[in-house]
């Protein structure tokens, strides 16, 4: 499953929704990877994410590291409470660029 995308002010936004877990984190990782090849800035709108586990968190970390390696930008926008609490628990709330 691919999440919907929107190009806005040279930022490629990906609208992530539902559960981000072992079942579907690979799709997101591949989608971000493809998006980073064509765009300087990729932002994940995570307002509609209801659950995220360590697989999802790993996909986010890998996406940010991939972006940095390519001299590009990766950020998280409007994280849901589920996303915020897991990033806090993982002590990753300052690792990512997060825009509320």
């Amino acid at each position: 499953m691919n999440y919907s995308e929107k190009l806005e002010n040279n930022i490629l936004k990906i609208f992530v929704s539902g559960d981000l877990d072992l079942e579907n984190y690979g799709n997101l990782r591949e989608q971000v990877s493809a998006a980073l090849q064509k765009n300087m800035v990729v932002a994940l709108d995570m307002n509609e994410v209801s659950y995220v586990d360590s697989s999802g968190v790993a996909a986010l970390i890998e996406s940010k590291q991939k972006a940095e390696k390519a001299g590009k930008e990766f950020k998280i926008q409007k994280p849901s409470e589920a996303v915020t609490s897991v990033l806090n628990l993982a002590k990753l709330d300052t690792f990512f660029v997060i825009e509320n």
């Binding site: 559960d19 877990d21 072992l22 079942e23 659950y51 586990d53 360590s54 697989s55 968190v57 790993a58 996909a59 970390i61 890998e62 589920a82 609490s85 897991v86 628990l89 993982a90 002590k91 990753l92 690792f95």
Partner: protein
């Protein structure tokens, strides 16, 4: 006590998580704590699917048993994947951010106790998770 036995598949992870959530809602546990326990169980069963069984086979099962003993929630997760012991669990390096060991870090942070039982069982692995909770 409630139990749920399902095929060990990625698709069934959410069903097991929802089973845990519904059980805790019955006891009026606060939503933040429910979310955390759901995460700890979710990580435990995802490990079974990803590392224990590795490949999907409908014969591969996960049994989840939930129970309250006084004010302690006990979660028992049984599987027949690769044998696991606690010393196999690596610690996460907080200062060097990477994608590994986050799941076990969550389990340790959320639960008061986790370990694999050494008692003889028809299952290869019997993971026990415990957390002190006040039922309403």
């Amino acid at each position: 006590m409630k139990s749920l036995e399902l095929e060990a598949s990625e698709e069934n992870l959410k069903h097991i998580r929802n089973f845990v959530e519904q059980y805790l809602i019955e006891f009026k546990i606060n939503p933040k704590t429910i979310s955390e326990i759901k995460l700890a169980v979710g990580e435990s069963i995802a490990n079974v699917v990803k590392y224990g069984y590795k490949k999907f086979d409908p014969k591969n099962k996960i049994l989840t048993v939930l129970d309250f003993k006084d004010d302690q929630l006990e979660i028992h997760i049984y599987d027949n994947g690769i044998k696991v012991t606690k010393d196999m669990i690596k610690n996460r390096d907080i200062d060097n951010v990477g994608p590994g060991q986050i799941g076990s870090y969550f389990i340790k942070k959320i639960m008061d106790y986790f370990d694999w039982s050494e008692e003889k069982s028809e299952w290869v692995n019997h993971l026990i998770l415990k957390k002190h909770l006040t039922k309403k």
